[in-house]
């Protein structure tokens, strides 16, 4: 049984088939990339997994459990974290408190305990901060710890979003175009981090990416999509050579 499996998932908006019967599986510890031209349905697949959209048909399994009908917050609680293509950070909060929100799925204190700030809450808070500091160190975010998001440059925000996802200690992370808007050096950093995430933190990675250099450098396997359908699946080299993929990108 695969670690994560999408079976024949579709999403139709009226007559438009944004995703049309896509099936794929992700093995534990794998880095799988989804590529495809604009409007191919890549981000839509992510939105289906994290339940921003509800699939028209098909099923999604994670750790052998059907998660198709679960509400979005339960998806996150199961250990699936994600980043967004157009950064979705909490603008009017500091980097630190953004990252602490990432810890939410591990928060166990009750409202009344928090109102009184009982020793248990205090101890939990410290534990959360310790974990957040580890992520800050992992991603070199020390200079920005107490800064407000609203004033930070795009590249840094991108990393903070990744950090927030990592703070939830996910088992599977969905990265939506991690390198968009980053310069060459930042993209290099990103590719190291993605590989370290797997080797050091043991996280399975599913990512949508346009930058073929980054894709071929980090991915074990690649899925090529076009118009909501799978064109090809295989190693980065195989997929890049596939005649249908070449046709989709360059025109037949």
């Amino acid at each position: 049984m695969s670690y994560f499996r999408a079976e024949n998932i579709s999403l139709h908006f009226g007559g438009l088939k944004a995703v049309d019967g896509v099936s794929f599986a992700v093995e534990k510890g794998e880095i799988l990339s989804i590529i495809g031209p604009n409007g191919a349905g890549k981000s839509t697949i992510f939105n289906l997994i994290s339940r921003i959209y509800r699939p028209t048909s098909g099923k999604i399994f994670f750790e052998d459990q059907d998660i198709t009908e679960e509400p979005p917050y339960d998806i996150a609680r199961r250990g699936i974290a994600r980043t967004f293509q157009n950064i979705e950070l909490f603008e009017n909060a500091t980097v630190l408190s953004n990252l602490l929100v990432g810890r939410h799925r591990h928060c166990t204190t009750q409202l009344w305990q928090e109102l009184l700030f009982l020793p248990r809450v205090r101890a939990n808070e410290k534990a959360h901060r310790r974990r957040v500091e580890q992520v800050i160190e992992f991603l070199d975010l020390e200079p920005y710890r107490d800064k407000l998001i609203a004033g930070l440059p795009y590249g840094v925000r991108k990393v903070i979003e990744l950090a927030r996802a990592l703070c939830s200690e996910p088992k599977l992370i969905l990265l939506d175009e991690p390198s968009s808007g980053l310069n060459v050096e930042e993209t290099d950093d990103m590719s190291f981090w993605i590989r370290d995430m797997r080797s050091e933190l043991g996280i399975t990675v599913l990512m949508v990416e346009h930058d073929m250099l980054l894709v071929s450098r980090v991915s074990d396997r690649v899925i090529a999509l076009n118009s909501g359908r799978v064109l090809a699946m295989g190693t980065p080299g195989e997929v890049q050579q596939h005649p249908d993929v070449v046709a989709a990108y360059l025109g037949a």
């Binding site: 994290s50 950070l89 408190s97 990432g102």
Partner: protein, 383 residues
């Protein structure tokens, strides 16, 4: 300038970041404790109202400032608290019981308002809460067997553990002060815990909050319940302070006053609620003073500037007529809100921060420090 070196996670968690805070808040607290022995009974009465308004302001901040859910229905929550207290008091229920009952019942009502509000955003939520306030107002006027309708209800003197606590006594003031301080401490505790961060997350991006495992609906309802509950507690003491309550005291105008409290104080900090409360309580006697004395002053000035006796009297009469126009107070409130939103969106507390920074950095203060930090009550953006 003071530099803080953080060596422990505790440094970020504690309520007073350094000893300076302990001293300044300690002095403030001592002054507040000494107030009844120094201030006139009129000012003491105003101070009680400041405590009550500030408590409601903090409650509204939790909902509007931190969770991003606007409400123009807080006068109704206050009314539910006040009427619950007044009703239970008739049957000889002791104060601690009906005080808590007022908070609890209002909190449950708040949660019930929160559920339909889950589907509404921004301006639509405002309309929904206004409708709720009108419904409550109407119920208070019509449900005569319980609320005595438009005749209103008399609220008897408060008895705490067998001792009378008259509404103009120092003890009553301490009760209100205790309520305010406990509310502020509880809210600060909430804000440094997971629940508070979840509220702020919902304000800034519901999508991201969801994908981080936050049950957005649950936390919105929680926010409504907490906010309403605190307002209900304030309503209980409000009823005692007024000693008489009737439906026309809890109108839309009062809800707007609460919005002014947080808008003028500043929506990003609890300080704002207190500063805004002081502002709104003190502006009333100021307006009354203007209304009573200004026409005379204007007439006097006209006479001094050489207008004939008859002409000066005419000017004075016109000024008096203008000052007693219906709705003038509402218009002045409106102008104040507009001016603050345009020129000081961070509110009075933001102004205070700027002044403080000016002196800390003198002569290096730069205006741009505060420029980028826009603060907004989330309305249209979040989807």
């Amino acid at each position: 300038m003071r530099f803080l070196f953080k060596t422990d996670y505790e440094d970020d968690i504690r309520l007073f970041p350094h000893s300076g805070y302990v001293v300044s808040y300690g002095v403030l607290f001592a002054l507040l404790l000494a107030a009844p022995f120094v201030l006139s009974s009129y000012l003491m009465s105003q101070l009680v109202f400041v405590c009550i308004y500030a408590t409601v302001g903090v409650a509204l901040l939790i909902l509007t400032g931190f969770t991003g859910q606007a409400s123009l229905g807080h006068a109704a929550f206050l009314a539910i608290g006040a009427y619950t207290a007044a009703y239970l008091q008739q049957f000889g229920v002791p104060f601690p019981v009906y005080f808590l009952a007022a908070g609890l019942l209002t909190g449950v009502t708040g949660a019930m308002v929160g559920f339909p509000a889950l589907r509404l955003q921004g301006i639509y939520l405002v309309i929904a809460t206004i409708s709720f306030a009108f419904i409550v107002e109407e119920i208070l006027a019509r449900w005569e067997s319980v609320t005595n309708g438009n005749e209103g209800m008399r609220v008897k003197t408060l008895y705490l553990f067998g001792h009378a606590v008259p509404r103009d006594s120092a003890a009553f003031y301490f009760l209100c002060l205790a309520m305010l301080v406990l509310t502020i401490v509880g809210t600060l505790n909430l804000l440094r815990s997971p629940t508070g961060r979840a509220f702020v997350a919902i304000r800034d991006s519901e999508t991201a909050a969801r994908s981080m495992g936050i049950n957005v609906s649950l936390y919105k309802v929680k926010s409504f319940a907490i906010s309403a509950g605190i307002t209900g507690l304030a309503g209980c003491l409000f009823a005692h302070k007024l000693s008489f309550i009737s439906p026309e005291m809890f109108t839309l105008q009062l809800s707007i006053e609460f919005i002014i409290v947080i808008l003028i104080g500043g929506t990003f900090s609890l300080h704002g609620a207190v500063l805004g409360a002081i502002f709104i309580v003190m502006i009333d006697p100021f307006l009354t003073y203007l209304k009573d004395d200004m026409p005379g002053v204007i007439g006097g000035m006209a006479a001094a500037l050489g207008a004939g006796k008859e002409r000066a009297a005419h000017i004075q009469d016109s000024a008096a007529a203008f000052a007693s126009l219906n709705g003038l107070k509402g218009a002045i409130y409106g102008i104040i809100i507009i001016l603050f939103v345009l020129f000081e969106p961070l509110g009075l507390y933001g102004r205070w921060l700027k002044i403080r920074l000016y002196f800390q950095l003198f002569p290096l203060y730069k205006r741009a420090t505060f420029k980028r930090q826009k603060i907004y009550v989330k309305s249209e953006r979040n989807r």
